[in-house]
């Protein structure tokens, strides 16, 4: 099968406008005849459900949490990018486009990224109209800050809680549609299968997380906005319930999975401090606007940071990358932190941390200013560590944060399964091999408010869809498959808990498929995962009942999928014999230890097709063509 991205022809600036014009329209009066399922209520799902309902479609919206307002997007801290150029500092749609393609190490689709940059400005307008309280200058204009990988100030923010405020904006729009009866909301539901009828996505099967009931829902199209799979590493900055289950089960049903090995390790997180630890906490990248990263010059220097004089400190990012300094992109910052720690210069009890120091900023701007910018982050840091970052430098270390890989989608955000769409972090589309800070919020909202409302109409108007009901054999088949899996998990009654398996998987992935990878380690990890998976199905213990609240059962299903999916990540990493962005294969680096791409052979999206459990997946390549951006070795010197 030849993968077709359905990228419109013509100059890049005109592609989206032209495409919107070419897309078939659903007559306003007919929209109410269509049912659309949206899974997920994060920035992508929440905005999509609300907007589709505003247009007149009947929407059913699902989420795992007890309220749509709690989706993982709520935790985003630092900000959202847009090419408004309010600062008059030389920003433009073209520059945001260029920075994003370059930041992604030239592994994203140009046309998608350009569209994202175009739409970015509408998003800010929309959010302000909804009442999102972005930070303002005294005169009433919107304020901006800088983020990694950019030399202009284009990030809009609401203190350190930008994700919360944007999500609550989308949530309010969603609530308005729920109140109006246009969206039917199903919280505490978990998608366990996507149902296909005549090769088209026509519904889903979910488990009601309160009653344990398996439920079936039919529709004319299904939209997955189920977030990223960072929790495959067990420890990550993702929320506890983040999972790959929805995307992975769609993959099993024929949706190709693109670039699964592209994962982002965020440079500034609170370091790991114990085996009981359940998750890692991010300290927003915005802190690198004012914080300076350093380690002691001499390995093994165990003095208190306050006792280490300037002359014995190495501000290694400022030294190595004079033009971007502390604001180099995430992959570069993370690898450098690891490199310093590998040289024995790491600090703190474990030696797996570097300093992020605000002393200079506080001296320069005063404590008040720093508090206004980052107060809640400093507070959070102190709650977790017991240290006061106004007085002593923060200790930080990289942690798994975001997944650029995801379900393959075309320009319409449709997967390889007709009628099945993927939005937000769940798709692979815009960030290539590395996402720039403040770009995920932008992408989620672009997908939900401004892209899917058009493209789904094109699909619905262009296909004649017979009504299907949940009595269709495809639903029953799916339901019994799901029940069978539940029964098996509950009956094994082995000796290890679900979390115990999950932690072991996380260790394997972090060690061999984390910040740096090599072929030997990847091969080894693959074997270890296969063994662990085998043991899981013989020795896991899942207490409780099927028809009841059963959080162990929920986690068991997710871990079972992670155990399969992690192998796909390894396969993808082994296939990509180059380094790019978040995928760093030690065999491919420049003399200065930067990622060395191989554009000749790997300038493609790797989209994997499932051939079923236990079978090798098949690779499909979508070649990436760069007509507007010149491929270069990334440099942030």
């Amino acid at each position: 099968m030849q993968l077709d991205g359905n990228i419109p022809s013509g100059p890049i600036q005109d592609k989206w406008d032209k495409h919107c014009f070419d897309l078939k329209l659903v007559n306003p009066a007919n929209k109410r005849k269509y049912d659309i399922i949206v899974v997920g209520t994060g920035l992508a799902g929440g905005s999509a459900a609300a907007t589709l309902a505003e247009l007149g479609y009947n929407v059913k919206n699902f989420c795992i949490q007890d309220s749509p307002r709690r989706a993982h997007s709520i935790a985003a801290q630092g900000g959202i990018n847009a090419a408004k150029n309010y600062q008059n500092d030389g920003d433009s749609i073209w520059r945001l486009f260029y920075d994003t393609v370059k930041g992604g190490d030239f592994r994203a689709r140009e046309a998608n990224v350009y569209r994202l940059a175009q739409i970015s400005n509408n998003i800010i307008d929309q959010c302000v109209a909804q009442g999102v309280p972005f930070a303002r200058e005294y005169g009433g204009q919107l304020a901006n800050r800088s983020f990694g990988g950019a030399q202009v100030s284009r990030t809009f923010y609401a203190r350190g809680q930008t994700g919360q405020q944007l999500l609550l904006g989308a949530y309010r729009s969603l609530c308005r549609q729920i109140g109006a009866g246009k969206v039917e909301m199903f919280p505490r539901r978990e998608l366990l299968d996507v149902v296909l009828v005549q090769d088209q996505a026509r519904g889903i099967v979910t488990r009601n997380l309160v009653t344990g009931e398996i439920e079936k829902y039919a529709a004319d199209a299904v939209v997955l906005a189920t977030g990223g799979y960072g929790n495959v590493f067990f420890l990550s900055t993702n929320a506890m319930n983040s999972n790959v289950t929805a995307a992975f089960r769609a993959y099993r049903k024929g949706a190709f999975f693109a670039n699964p090995c592209f994962t982002q390790i965020h440079p500034t997180c609170i370091p790991v401090h114990g085996t009981y630890q359940s998750k890692l906490t991010l300290m927003s990248e915005s802190l690198r606007n004012d914080g300076r990263v350093w380690v002691p010059k001499t390995p093994g220097d165990k003095r208190n940071p306050s006792e280490i004089p300037e002359s014995d400190r190495d501000y290694y990012l400022e030294r190595k990358y004079p033009s971007f300094g502390n604001l180099v992109p995430r992959d570069v910052a993370s690898r450098n932190a690891k490199e310093q720690c590998d040289m024995g210069k790491g600090v703190g009890e474990t030696g797996l941390a570097v300093y992020l120091d605000f002393a200079d900023a506080i001296r320069r701007d005063g404590r008040d200013v720093i508090e206004r910018k980052y107060g809640n982050l400093f507070e959070m840091y102190e709650k977790i560590t017991g240290d006061n970052p106004y007085e002593t430098p923060m200790m930080i270390y990289p942690a798994v944060h975001y997944t650029m890989g995801g379900l393959w989608v075309d320009y319409n955000l449709m997967t390889t399964v007709p009628g099945l769409f993927a939005l937000g972090e769940a798709n692979f589309s815009d960030h290539g091999a590395n996402r720039l800070g403040a770009s995920a919020l932008m992408q989620g909202l672009a997908d939900g408010y401004f892209i899917i409302p058009y493209t789904i109409g094109g699909y619905l108007a262009g296909n004649s869809l017979d009504k299907v009901s949940t009595d269709h054999p495809a639903f029953r088949e799916s339901e019994s498959k799901v029940k069978e899996m539940t029964d098996t998990l509950l009956s094994i009654n082995g000796k290890r808990t679900v979390d115990d398996f999950h932690k072991e998987l996380g260790h394997i992935m972090w060690e061999y498929c984390g910040m740096a990878r090599n072929n030997e380690g990847l091969e080894k990890a693959r074997g270890m995962i296969q063994e662990l998976r085998e043991e899981f199905w013989k020795n896991v213990r899942v207490p409780g009942l099927e028809k009841d609240v059963n959080q162990s059962l929920e986690r068991a299903g997710r871990v079972a999928d992670f155990l399969e999916f992690s192998e796909l990540m390894i396969i993808d990493a082994l296939n990509r014999q180059e380094s790019c962005g978040g995928h760093f294969n030690e065999a491919y680096q420049t003399d200065e230890n930067e990622a060395r791409r191989d554009d000749e052979n790997y300038s493609y999206v790797a989209a994997w097709e499932s051939k079923g459990v236990g079978e090798e997946p098949v690779l499909h390549k979508e070649d990436l063509e760069f007509e507007n951006v010149k491929l270069t070795q990334r440099s942030y010197k």
Binding site: S47, T51, E54, Q65, D66, S67, P68, R69, R70, H72, A75, K84, N122, D125, Q126, V128, A129, Q130, G131, P133, F134, A135, R136, E137, Y138, G139, G140, Q141, L142, Q161, Q164, Q165, Y171, R172, S173, C175, R176, I178, G179, P187, V210, A239, M240, G274, Y276, Q277, S278, K279, M380, K383, I384, F450, T497, D499, D500, P543, G544, V549, Q551, S552
Partner: protein
């Protein structure tokens, strides 16, 4: 300094809404003071699972104090004794070796217990659905800087907008009122020029729905403010009352 401590936990166990529920006692040992409260419960749950018992059901998601999914009453206080702290951000360094800790669900007429520490707070969503928004569709917004908002107003709106919808204010209130929650939403939107147009109507609709959902009245007990993990101030309740009276006034004159 990290230490390991031993604790006695009295945990509310309740098997669904029909069950009357009861406290059960568990001893936990070697709890690192660097753990969060929920990590301590994770450790207990791992042990219970291996002993063939059913783990304690409790909600959490972000574990960063922002999603509002966690929350229980710890020693009589919603989210525990630390000021401006959600349960997931409460760390064990605030407890002493040998302490006994009672843990029970948020209780209110409008919240029913689903299992153990898990409650249904759907009524809070219902209140927002009845009017807690600005009626604007995607697509038609003017340029963001066309609506200037003074830095001062934006900050005050942001103070109110920080509510995480956890319901601790309801659990803290002797009347199980949701006034703090409702007022935070109403003030945030009423402070901003974009939200002013619908402010009175919004307040009226939300207060009516709050009553209909079974939340009690506000009699100025101020417990809500003391327990709110986000420091939402009761000044917001005064703002809500103002909008509410305006609404009452207008509806009489229609």
């Amino acid at each position: 300094m990290t230490q390991n401590i031993n604790l006695t936990l009295k945990v509310w166990r309740q098997n669904g809404q029909q069950d009357k529920g009861r406290f059960e006692t568990y001893e936990v040992s070697d709890i690192s003071t660097d753990m969060s409260f929920l990590e301590m419960l994770d450790v207990l749950n791992e042990t219970l699972t291996l002993e063939g018992k059913e783990p304690i059901a409790f909600d959490s998601d972000c574990r960063e104090g922002i999603c509002g999914q966690c929350g229980s009453v710890v020693n009589g206080r919603p989210h525990g004794q630390e000021k401006k702290t959600t349960l997931c951000q409460l760390h064990m360094r605030h407890f002493k070796n040998g302490d006994t800790i009672a843990i029970e669900p948020f209780r209110a007429r409008a919240f029913k217990v689903l299992k153990d520490l898990m409650v249904d707070r759907g009524a809070l969503d219902k209140v927002i659905q009845s009017g807690g928004f600005i009626s604007v569709n995607a697509g038609g917004a003017p340029d963001a800087n066309a609506i200037p908002v003074s830095g001062e107003i934006a900050e005050r709106a942001m103070d109110a907008a920080q509510c995480i919808g956890c319901g601790a204010c309801v659990a803290a209130c002797p009347n199980a009122s949701a006034m703090l929650f409702v007022s935070a939403n109403v003030s945030h939107l009423a402070l901003l020029p974009q939200g002013k147009l619908e402010a009175a109507k919004r307040a009226l609709a939300m207060v009516r729905t709050m009553d209909a959902c079974g939340f009690g009245n506000c009699s100025n007990e101020r417990e809500c403010e003391a327990e709110c993990p986000k420091g939402i101030s009761i000044i917001n309740i005064a703002r809500l009352n103002r909008e509410f009276f305006k609404a009452g006034f207008f509806s009489h004159n229609e």
